[in-house]
Structure formats: C-alpha cells, structure tokens
Symmetry: C2
Subunit: 402 residues, 2 copies
C-alpha cells in the first residue's frame, strides 16, 4: 500500500510537506468520490492512486462506483461523444435510462459524507436524487470546448446544482455557467506498475513475451481501438515514415467492449496492414497490461498520440515521464503538456504527412530526441504527478468546507 | 424505480406478504453488498434488481463495487477458472496483486454496517483488512464442485473468517469447511428490460434492427464468446440439425474485454461459419443489448445452452421464463432448473450429436415444445424469481443478526 512518504524521492520534500500542511484542517472529513466504469479508464486509474493518499493524509475518503447495465453505457457513450461535439438524437428513452440508473444507484447508496465529488457525466444527475447536506463537486474529464448544444443544455440543469465544477483545461471553461469553475490537470502515478522504473531485463522480458522485436526503431501508440484515437491515421503515418527509415509500429490498447465500431476499426487495420503484420513490422496488441505499456513506452523511438479528440490524454504524460520523444495531436489536454518543438511535437490531427515528417525528424536526430525526452520528463515531474493532483484537491476542499 | 408492490401480479400476494413479514425485524439495518465487475455480469444484474427491493422492504442496503485494474482481473479470472477445476501456476505475484487490490479498496471503503455480504472470489479477502464488527457473509456464485486444490486451499483461509457461506447448488457444498453453508439459487427479475413482456411489434422491430430474419426456425444461444460456453460446439450441433431441418443460428453475447481467448474463439467461428454467415443462416451479435436478448429468447424455436461449466446459468432461467424450449448441458446449476424431458432437455456437454437430436426433436414436435415451454415458465415463477431470492436473503439476515 503506497503512502505519501513513498513519493518523497520523486516529488521532493517541499511537495510532501505542503501536502501535510494542506491536509491539517481536513482530518477526519468524509469525502465521497463517485465515478462509473467503462469510458475513461483513466479516471479509475487516477482515483486508484489518489484515494489511498487522501486517506493517508488524514481524510476519510470513500470511493463508490456507479454500476450500469449495457443500455446505460450505450446511452452515456453517446452522451460523451455529443459533449465532445458529435450529433445525437436525444430521445426521452435515452434520458430515462440515464436518470433511472442514477436514481437506482441513489436508492442503495446512503451518503453521510462532508463532501461529494462526482466524476464525469455518467453519475452527474445523482445530485437530483439526494437532499443536499454538503457541498457537491462535479469533476469533468471531458473536452467541453465545443459540445452539442442540446446535449449540453440537458446536462446543464444538473451542473447548476453543484457547488464547484472542476475541468481539465481552461479551454473547457463554460462561459454561460454561473458555477465556480476550477482547473485541475489530471495526473499520473509515478509509482504505479504502468509508470514505475523498470529494469532492462524486465523490459526485454515483457517485449519478448508479446513478440515485440527491438532490432528496428519502434513507433508506439498506446490507445484503445476507437475512432477518436485514429489508429488508422497512425498506420498511414507509419507507412510514410517507413519509406525513409525502416521501423516497426506497435498499436497497443483494449478493444472497447459493447462498441461495435471498435471491432470494425480493428478489422479494417488488420486488412490494411495484413502484409506488414505478417512481416512483423506492424504489431497489434489488444491486451491491456500495465507493465507491457510501461515497457513499450520506455522502448519507443517515438511515441505517437494522433487523437482527434482528447479529454486530457494521460498517455502523453506517461510517455513524457519515461523520456520518450512524443509526436501528438494539438487537441484536448495535449497542448497543456507539450510545448511544440521543446518537449515534444504538436501536429494538427488531420495532417498525416506532417505527423510523418515530425516522426522522421525525431528518428534522424538522436540528440534532439534525447533533449526533448529529458525536458518532457521534467514537465511531468513538476506538473502532472499524482502528488500535485492531491494538492489541488486539498486546496479545493479547504475552500468549499470552510 | 421498481418497488415490491410491482411484483404482486407476477409473484402473487402470498409471496409479497411473506417478504414484508420477514423484513419486519430488519428495519433500518445497514447491509453492505460488495461485488466486483467483469466476470459474472450476472451477479451485477441480480444486485441491480435486489438492492432497490431490499431498501423498499425497510433495510438500509448499500452496494459497493470493488474496482481493480486489468492485472487484477487477469489474475482473478485465472483464480475463477482454477476454482472451476483448471490448473493454475499460483505464484506469489498473483497472490500479491489479489491481496493488494483488496487492501487498497479497504483503505477507501469505510464500513459501519450491521452486516457485510461479499460476492464471489474477487473481494473475498477483504475481510482480512477490517476489524470485524458485524457478521460477514460470503456469497459464492462459482461452481466449486471440483476446484483445483491448491487454489481452494489458498482462498480457504479467508472463507474460514466468514460467518456464513452462500452457494448456488448443493453440489458445491465444501465438505471440509467448518462454516455454515446455505444454498440460495440465483434469480431473474421478471420486470427488467431483459425479461419483461414485449409486444409482437417490439420484438419484430428489434430483430429487424439487428438483421435477424424469422422466416426459418431460430436456434439461439445467449452467451459470451468464451470457451466455457462452447460456441463452436453450438455451431457444430447447428450444422447437424440443418442437414434435416432448415433453420438459422444466432449466437449473441459480449466479447470479453481483456480476454485474448475470446477474440480467438470468435475469429475461429467466423472462419468456420463463413459461408453460412454470408447466407444469413448464422448470425453473430457481439453487442450486449437486453431488449434484443429478450426478443431473441421470445422468438427462438430452441434456446441452446451448451456450456462446459456454469455457476448457475441464469440464461436458462431467462429462456424458460419466456416459454422457450431449452436444450442445455447437464452442468452447474442447469439441472437445478431443468428436469430432463419435462421442462427442457439435459444433454452431456461433450455429446454434440445428442444436442442435435434433442434440438431436432423439439423442432419436429410443436406440441412437445409448447408443453415444455409452459412447464419451464412455471418452474421459474415458483423458484427463480428475484422475489424468492429476496426472501432467502431476509431469512439469512434474520438468522445472523439475532
């Protein structure tokens, strides 16, 4: 079980001291986090690291997961996409499934905490089903910069009831929302299996186990097979790169259960890259394994993140933390992490040729790659570690509870 | 939100009255259910129906979901398989991941309830991380009739701490376990979207939407693409049947995320049934949609359940409830639901030819099919509805709390 103390070496004593200071007024305060599974595995990862530390700091932090059936997740996936700008046919049936699941959850979830923190749109309307006895905070991880207006208006009636809204990026600020909005960047846990230092032997063992050879430079994208992550575009960029520099591509990420699109995209890549897959130059891994991801990011010549939309893109922070040169889309939270040309490259997601050019630039200039990687690691150390995220939460709790 | 009252029509006034009676001593008692997601979606379905009713009866029932990362689920899936008899390499690493996730959960889960009910092996060792202040019940949904002994011995040290163990079948009774063991059958919710009465129009609309034509008799298996459910064996039986009676096969079930086997099995079926799929005589649906499942079960000429192992097989109860003739494996909880030749047929799972013969017998004898279906529905009404399950829990709580 990790404690705050374990982070001294990586975050520094000043940060650790500040955490203890900020926690002093909050001893024994009951804080309830509520999220739902499925979309946004990243949120669960953050909570998994944050909650033990919040308790170690002296708070009584609880975590409950909203359970929904497949209908609920089908509907809330559409909501999620609409909040990121997609069209939606917002029927009463969809609204009912959304509200009904939340009402059900409220029946078997007795809340007697000092503060409730609700993560993402799935459990957002919960607040409607409780007598409010404490501050409620909505923590939104979604890109809200250009939502479908009908969708936004529907969820706005619930957002209005909250005391504070936390967003991941100043560009997601909702101008017409008369609720206090705070910006908190997500964060990675430097001590989790996905990010912890690995020995060369362990790296080699994991890559070997999953059939990843390292005799050529590796291009890596870690992302679900999902249209928002544009794995097909990555394959195209890779093919352009490979005309000039021989290399391998690894696409590693889960298949989205219940998501027929995911299967279609995967099949299309299988078809398009058939020969390269047989040759071992394109490697598709649909298994989610944290240590494998860690090993891939540490072995990559370039980490790619060619997303079309992103909430924040913690995969970018993960790669930067490992000193990998990153070429990523200029969307969502990525420009908050990468300064173009300094600690990585930012490219417009539609410009596949430019992706290939930047990747080649990294592959051809080892010194540039190394310098960018080092700066990337420092960026994450100061801004995107779980200890910083904990401090932000403590600040907000100090503000809303007194 | 469903209440106990809503079940009067389907369960009868005597049952409703008995529920209220059994609940009287339990008013305001805090009951905490803990399960984990992933394997056993059936458990979540049961809790989803049960928890609102338990609260409606006057108890304060809470539900918490143990969250784990993909490593945890990989390990606990292996545990699950080993408890059902598979071999396992029970390393310290696996034990650590298992215990660590549970310890983490205990840190951010504050328990002050009168009774804790833990579902299945994933959260079983939680009990180790609390000072015990109330009775703990372990509710096991797994087939424990022939577990891997090393695996069983490892989890036994946690089982021993519990006050009561609930199993699904008398055949799962652990003879060497000095803990009170109770048998509670799982149950289906007759009012959930998966089981509620559907109009002919709705059925037609759903089948049409997913490309299922009804011009030939439909053989249906509802199950994940998973080796334990033997979808390949179902395909083989179907081919034998089709030599004599023209019909269609629908295999409908989710792909197991994180489960590479699942993808392999699916691909193998795609290959084997390629021509039949093109012709529309074999239909694979990897989407999980409750109303579609409902419509398929109501339209099936025969529902097949050719599992190799089963905890209980609620899909059988679901099909029986809809009056469908069922041909199913003589494993797990299936013989508790089906009396061979009376309300369905029981076949040894390895005997594919016998499966085909029984399916043909049903297809060729409409009167037999109808009579079996009617008896099947009555079996479920008396033994496998959520109201009966609620009563069993109330009985056990009355016993452990006083």
């Amino acid at each position: 079980m990790r404690t705050i103390e374990d982070y001294r070496k990586v975050a520094g004593d000043d940060v650790i001291g500040e955490i203890y200071n900020k926690a002093r007024r909050l001893y024994g305060k009951g804080i309830l986090h509520i999220n739902s599974t499925y979309i946004g595995g990243g949120v669960a990862e953050i909570l998994n690291s944050l909650l033990p530390l919040m308790n170690d700091a002296g708070l009584d932090a609880d975590w409950k997961v909203l359970h929904g059936n497949s209908d609920f997740f089908t509907v809330t996936k559409k909501f999620h996409n609409a909040l990121q700008g997609d069209n939606i046919n917002l029927t009463n049936m969809k609204k009912e499934i959304y509200l009904q699941t939340n009402e059900n959850f409220s029946v078997y979830t007795h809340i007697n905490h000092d503060c409730v923190i609700v993560h993402d749109p799935q459990p957002l309307p919960l607040i409607k089903f409780y007598k409010k006895r404490q501050p409620w905070i909505w923590r939104c991880h979604v890109d809200l910069s250009n939502p479908n207006r009908e969708m936004y208006d529907f969820i706005k009636s619930y957002i209005l009831k909250y005391d504070v809204v936390i967003i991941s990026n100043k560009r997601y600020k909702m101008d017409d929302l008369p609720v206090k909005q705070k910006i908190v960047f997500p964060a990675i846990d430097p001590l989790s299996p996905k990010n912890i230092e690995l020995s060369k032997k362990d790296i080699a063992r994991y890559l070997d186990k999953y059939g990843v050879k390292t005799d050529k430079p590796l291009l890596v994208q870690i992302s679900r097979f999902d249209m928002w992550k544009d794995p097909e575009g990555v394959l195209e960029a890779f093919m352009l790169v490979k005309n000039e520099v021989d290399c391998r591509l690894v696409l590693c990420g889960g298949m989205a259960m219940d998501d027929p699109e995911s299967q279609i995209i995967y099949n299309r890549i299988l078809l398009k890259a058939g020969k390269l897959i047989k040759k071992g130059d394109v490697i598709l891994i649909t298994l989610e394994n944290n240590i494998l991801v860690n090993a891939l990011q540490r072995s990559a010549a370039v980490v790619i993140q060619k997303s079309i939309r992103e909430g924040f893109a913690l995969t970018v922070s993960e790669a930067l933390w490992k000193g990998a040169p990153v070429v990523a889309s200029n969307v969502g939270g990525i420009p908050a992490q990468i300064i173009d040309g300094v600690n990585g490259f930012l490219v417009e997601p539609s410009d596949t040729a430019e992706f290939a050019r930047k990747i080649l630039q990294v592959l051809k200039h080892a010194d540039l790659a190394k310098a960018m990687g080092e700066k990337g690691k420092e960026t994450v150390r100061t801004k995107f570690l779980t200890t910083r995220c904990l401090m932000d939460y403590l600040d907000i709790l100090n503000e809303v509870l007194f």
